[in-house]
C-alpha cells in the first residue's frame, strides 16, 4: 500500500520538486536526456520516466517497485560492513563527484584514465526498471537510471582479442571501514572487489551502468557513482563504485568465486534449478517495503525472467557445471 502510494508520487512529482542541492551530475545528465533543461516545461513531461513502462519493453516490468527506503537501506556492500543496514549509515560521507576516475586498460584502442564527467558526456541517461535477485535468496524491483554498458565499451573500442572484461571497486581503507581486518584478524573478502563478464554478456543490451536510483544520484551505499547492473545474474556480479575496467583475453577471476569456489561461480546466472550448496535457489523473498509483512516469498525464474534476452548466449553450455 505504502509502496503503491510512493510509486504514484514518484511518477507525478518528477524532477522539478527535487531540490538543487541534491542534484549534481546524475540530475544534469538525466534532465538533459528527458529534455527538461531545454524545454523548460517539466509539467508537460509525461515522457522519459514513463516511457520505460511501455508494455512489452524488456527494460521495465509491471511488478510493484521496491520502496526507495528498502533499496537504499538493504545493501550488501561489504566494503562498508557485512551488516546490510550499516552501509546506509557508513556511506553518508561517501559522495563521489565529477572527479571520480575510472582506469580503462588492457586490449583496448583508447585506454586511459577517464573522469565521471568524461564518461557521462559520452552517454544518455535513461531509466531501467529491473528485478534484482541476490544469491542469498531475496529480491527487489529497482528503478535505476544510467546507461547501457555497451555505449561505454563502444567508445573505448576494445580490440578483437578482448574476450572478457574485468571490473574493480575502489580500494581505500579510509573510505571503506569494511576493508580493514575484523576483530579476530580476518579479512572478510580479498580486496579490492573484482568482477568479470564475457564480452557478449557485457555488450548485451540489458547490461547497464547505474548512476542513479529513484531519480536521484546513486547513494554511496548503492555503489556510487558507477555501479554495474546485470539483471539476469545474482546481485554480487553487479559490482559497485567501479574504478577500473580492463579488457582481457583470458577469463578474469571474481571475488566471490575466489573466496568460495564451490559456492559462487563466474557466471552466477540466476537459476532456480541449481541450488547453492547450502541453500535452495528455487524461491526468493521479494522485498517491497520495510513493514513486517512487506516481504513475500515467490518462485525464482530462470535468468531472473530475462531468458528471452540472454538464453541464446548460453546455448550448449551446461548451466549446472558452469554455475
Amino acid at each position: 500500500m505504502k509502496n503503491r502510494k510512493f510509486r504514484s508520487l514518484y511518477s507525478s512529482i518528477k524532477e522539478q520538486q527535487i531540490t538543487p542541492e541534491e542534484a549534481f551530475w546524475n540530475r544534469r545528465a538525466f534532465l538533459k536526456k528527458l529534455g527538461y533543461l531545454s524545454a523548460g516545461l517539466p509539467l508537460l513531461g509525461n515522457n522519459g520516466l514513463l516511457n520505460a513502462q511501455t508494455k512489452g519493453n524488456i527494460f521495465t516490468t509491471t511488478e510493484p517497485l521496491s520502496s526507495e527506503y528498502v533499496i537504499t537501506h538493504h545493501n550488501n556492500f561489504y566494503e562498508f560492513s557485512t551488516n546490510k543496514s550499516r552501509p546506509a549509515e557508513l556511506a553518508t560521507e561517501f559522495k563521489p563527484g565529477n572527479d571520480w576516475k575510472v582506469k580503462v586498460t588492457g586490449n583496448v584502442e583508447k585506454p586511459g584514465e577517464y573522469t565521471l564527467e568524461d564518461i557521462l558526456s559520452w552517454v544518455d541517461i535513461e531509466e531501467r526498471i529491473y528485478r534484482l535477485r541476490c544469491v542469498e535468496g531475496w529480491s527487489m524491483v529497482v528503478p535505476w537510471q544510467g546507461f547501457q554498458l555497451s555505449d561505454l565499451i563502444n567508445r573505448v573500442k576494445p580490440s578483437s582479442n578482448a574476450k572478457y572484461i574485468e571490473f574493480k571497486t575502489l580500494q581505500s581503507r579510509s573510505t571503506f571501514p569494511g576493508q580493514k581486518r575484523g576483530a579476530l584478524g580476518f579479512h572478510v573478502l580479498p580486496w579490492p572487489y573484482k568482477e568479470g563478464l564475457r564480452m557478449d554478456e557485457a555488450m548485451n543490451p540489458l547490461t547497464f551502468i547505474a548512476t542513479g536510483v529513484y531519480g536521484k544520484n546513486l547513494p554511496g551505499q548503492n555503489g556510487a557513482p558507477l555501479r554495474l547492473v546485470v539483471p539476469w545474474k545474482y546481485g554480487f556480479k553487479s559490482i559497485k563504485s567501479v574504478v577500473s575496467i580492463r579488457f582481457l583475453e583470458q577469463r578474469p577471476t571474481n571475488t566471490w568465486h575466489k573466496s568460495a569456489p564451490r559456492e559462487y561461480g563466474f557466471f552466477a546466472n540466476v537459476n532456480p534449478a541449481v541450488a547453492h550448496p547450502r541453500w535452495s535457489q528455487a524461491n526468493e523473498r521479494r522485498i517491497t517495503d520495510e513493514s513486517f509483512f512487506g516481504v513475500k516469498r515467490i518462485p525464482t525464474q530462470l535468468f531472473n525472467g530475462y531468458q528471452d534476452q540472454v538464453a541464446p548466449m548460453y546455448v550448449g553450455m551446461d548451466l549446472v557445471r558452469e554455475f
Binding site: Y69, S85, R285, R297
Partner: protein, 188 residues
C-alpha cells in the same frame, strides 16, 4: 525477598529481547527486511542465553557466589524458548508452513540439519529441567545435561555455516564456549 526480587527482574530481562523485537517490528525499525533481522536476532539471543547459562557454574565458583546456580535453569529454559521462536519464524515466513519443505531443508541443508539437531537435543533438557526430575534422575541428570555443551557447539556451527563469509562474530562465541569448558575442567 531480595532473592525473589532478583528472580523476577531476571525474568523481565529475559523477556526484553522479545518485547523489543515485537515493538520494533510494529514501528518498522528493524530495517528493510524485518523478518530476516528478527530471525537472526532470535537465534542470537538463543545462543547468548545458552552461553550465559553455561557460564553460571564457572562464575559462581570463581566468585564464590553459590546462589547463582538458581539462574542456570532459567537461562537454559529461555535459550530453549528463543530457539523455538527462531525455528517457528523460519518455518512460517521462509518455508510458508510447508512441512515437506521443512523435512527437505533439514535433510539437504547441513546448517539446518545441525540447527535442528540442536533444537531436538534441547527438548529432553527442557523436559527434565524440573527439580523433581533432577532428583529422580540423580547422577544421570548431570550426564544428560552436559548435552548443553554439545548444543552450544552445534549452534555455533550452525551460525558459522549459514554466514556467507564473516567468521569474526561466530568465532567470538566459539571462544566463549571454549573458555567455559576449559574453566570447568580447571576449577574443580
Amino acid at each position: 525477598m531480595v532473592y525473589k526480587l532478583s528472580k523476577v527482574s531476571a525474568h523481565v530481562i529475559c523477556w526484553l529481547p522479545l518485547i523489543y523485537l515485537i515493538f520494533a517490528a510494529i514501528h518498522r525499525t528493524l530495517g528493510a527486511d524485518p523478518q530476516e533481522i528478527m530471525l537472526h536476532l532470535l537465534g542470537f539471543w538463543a545462543l547468548v542465553f545458552l552461553l550465559l547459562s553455561l557460564s553460571v557454574t564457572p562464575l559462581r565458583r570463581v566468585f564464590q557466589f553459590p546462589i547463582l546456580v538458581n539462574f542456570r535453569r532459567m537461562l537454559g529454559l529461555y535459550a530453549g524458548w528463543y530457539m523455538l521462536l527462531h525455528v517457528a519464524l523460519f518455518f512460517t515466513f521462509y518455508l510458508n508452513l510447508d512441512i515437506s519443505e521443512l523435512v527437505n531443508e533439514v535433510i539437504e541443508r547441513p546448517y539446518i540439519t545441525v540447527g535442528m539437531l540442536a533444537l531436538l537435543l534441547m527438548l529432553p533438557l527442557v523436559v527434565t529441567s524440573t527439580k523433581a526430575m533432577q532428583r529422580r534422575l540423580g547422577k544421570k541428570w548431570k550426564a544428560l545435561h552436559r548435552l548443553a555443551y554439545l548444543i552450544g557447539a552445534l549452534s555455533i556451527v550452525h551460525f558459522v555455516w549459514q554466514s556467507k563469509s564473516d567468521l569474526n562474530e561466530p568465532l567470538l562465541y566459539a571462544v566463549w564456549l571454549v573458555v567455559v569448558l576449559v574453566s570447568r575442567r580447571s576449577i574443580k
